[in-house]
Amino acid sequence: MNRVRLRPLALGAACVAAASCINIFEHVVVEDVRPPGPGDTVLVRSPVKAHLGDGSTIVYQRGVRVAPDELLGPGERFALGAAVSRPVTRVPLDSVAAMESFGNQVDAVPTVLASTVATAGGVFVVALAAAATFGSCPTFYTDSAGQAVLEAEGFSYSIAPLFERRDVDRLRATTAADGSLAMEVRNEALETHYLNHIELLEVRHAGGEMIVPDGGGRALLVGALRPLAGATDRAGRDVSATLRDVDGVYYATPADVVDAAREDDLTDHLDLRVPAPSGADSVAVVLRLRNSLLNTVLLYDEILGASGAAALDWMGRDMQRIANAVELGQWYSASMGMRVSVDDGTMLRPVSRLGDVGPIALADLAVVVPTFGRDTVAVRLSFTADNWRIDRVAAGTALRRPAVRVVPAAVVRRDDGTADDAALASLAEPDERYLVTTPGQHFTVRFTPDPVAGDSARTFLLASQGYYLEWVRGDWLRTATRPGGFVPHDGTILAALRRWRAVQPEFERQFHSSRVPVR
């Protein structure tokens, strides 16, 4: 039998064999066990406040039951500006603008800011609540010829007492003619801010030298800055020009990289060629950057919004448990922030991790990396795709730890100009006393640093410590998609990234236009 006649026969046999059975294609997927679907009613056990659209507030000291269309349970309703309450047991859910957890046991001695805006602020809050997306920390402003200049945002993403964090930000502000430096602290978000400590750090240095904090909040003198010798993105594109100057032109992860992100590969990276001073064993990489709103989408939609009313207990109870907070912190640290690695000739050696700085104010940060004896160091910045907006990356020409002077707050003034000694005492030390602010409140902290000699320059850093509790929006109560609080899992970041990509332009516009007014 020759081959020409064999081939059709073999093909025929194969076809018969294939057609003679049903082909079932199988594979094994290994997944974490997920909780069941959402229920109709959520019992919130934490003490909560409900802020209603008419400006009134209902206090539920012993928690509340959140049904699909109403709040059920004994509460005390305070009309706008009223000190006397009346009991309520049923409240339509569509009248609720937002809810917040309160009364945590960690903070023994809170001081509530005595502000005339506190009362009027309620009106602003509820009017804005439906659309307010601005948030994630207190904001710090200085005054420049009557204009408020945003200088920094404090302890971003410190969303529970156990995540209380000290944040150090480089200020561009200088002292006024009277030698003082005044900083206005605002709560422009639907959040309750718990401020523990605020102080000014002063570094004196020569002209032309630059002072920036490192990832741990310690001041670094990095000398004058030099541009990078080269910078490429993950696709190999040259991004040197984008990163060269402080010009508001940011590096953002290209759309094709974001769209290609998968659950097991969410990372974008930049490869930098950093010139090192001759003979130096280390060099500083100096960054000016802020976060995108990916983190905000992650917090609002994936962590809090999807849980609806259950997010109140997640913040008020779950996140007070040390083990739960550590688990969330580890998950977040592994996913977010920025990892810095250096090529030592054999491998990329991790040298540092920068935490997220927030989406509102640009931050200056430095990372010290070893040179391994080279005059140009290969540094990689790795991060979850589209988590950052990077304005400038440069190299420091000198490096040392400068002497730092601490300038404590001298006075805290309310919006009507009167001094608030209780507020000042609460902010003086990182202890158990907290200054609590609600949306729409603001105050001014004045520092009086010693005069400096005429030929000396100085840079101020602002250290702020605290945490905040996000208010659960009324919309989230009505559109929850899971029955319990957030449990960290692999798909969350990708889901947030997809959602962020879908809503980005409108969400950015809404975010920046929905600050809660303080005046």
């Binding site: 000290r166 097991d264 083990a323 550590v326």
Partner: protein, 426 residues
Amino acid sequence: MTAARTYVLLLPVALLLAGCRWGTNTRYLDASRMPVGATARLTTEPGGRWDAELLAAHDSALYVVREGRVTMVPFAVIRGGRMARLGRDFGLPDRTPPGPALLARLRRVSRFPQGLDQPLLARLLALHQQPALDTFPRSGGIAPARAADSAGNPEVVADFVRRARAGAAGFRDRRDAMRAGYRRVGMDFPAMGEHWVNPGLVIRGELDPAAPAILAYVPVDGEPTLVGVGYAVTMAPGAPPPSLPAGTRYWHEHNGTVDDESFVVAHDASHATAHDTAHDTGSTRLAILHLWLDAPNPDGAFAADNWALPFVRLGLAVPEPFDHAAARALSLATDGAPYYLALATRRAGAGKQPPPTASPAHAPDVIRTALERGEADVRAVLASRPSSPNLSTSQLAELRGIWERVVADVERAAGGGTAGVLRVSR
């Protein structure tokens, strides 16, 4: 219906039942039926392509069984891999560790998804008759195996303490600790002082002697004084605490709220509580180890409670033999009363079998009165002594008596259970 038509109708059903199956089914996947990890075909540089059983995926390396030996493979040498019968290749072309999602996927198909801690690794090495862990490419044994063997070894302990002392040196001034990110958590405990915690180091969850996550301060002459450090490591469900540096028994867990954990009665095993090492929450847990660097501890440098602190706070010499009851009495004169009051009141409020004569409604007042009387008595003893740092035997006995009277008063007011927590309080 004819027989022929019946056959025609039955044929597809028969074929369906006898259908061919392509791909992986859990029946044929060892990792789903047996206590083994998935088989990984790894591509490494150097080394090429080779198979191994996946034991655990850590942040920086895979642990595998390769040619019968337990082996650590750093991600730096792994270019990619594929899980046999599970499909989906993964690649690590740029020598960086995998992202969290890939790491989680690797962990899920590992024999030990919770990771390999020191004791488990030691047992595995013993099973495989290995004196030390192999590394790939081969470079001899590494620290974890030796560490598991050497827990409690005086040299290991001394080295740990030396590095801890160096790490703590920068925080003698508490303001430096504040500026390095430490913040106070909880109250000032009579036998533990103030805990200043660095959340970033807690979340990092690694045991680095030179980077303590906790600093313990007590006021001496009005100045916060560093007396010890603490370490925090995270543990997967079911995993024991580290054996380093002095053995697992010195570690205890804190998984509840700060408030709950502040009023745990005692750390010793004889008073096991919800946060004890035997407890497993089913999720990530936090184990804590204390090390008293600059204050002697009669119960050992790694014991959680240090009852010498009341003496240190007052600038007194720590007596030998040590008297714990006298130390508790002394703590009344060093601002310990609020802690005892909170502890006893919580216990009394829980209604744990007060005696018939007790009046729980007024228990806090009676407890407060007993503590205030005890504090006044202690101050009287201290005022009457000469200006020597040493307390005499009779003064120590007097202090012991004061403490016993306080406990007896509390017992009468709130019951034996409440008084009991004072006897063993920390």
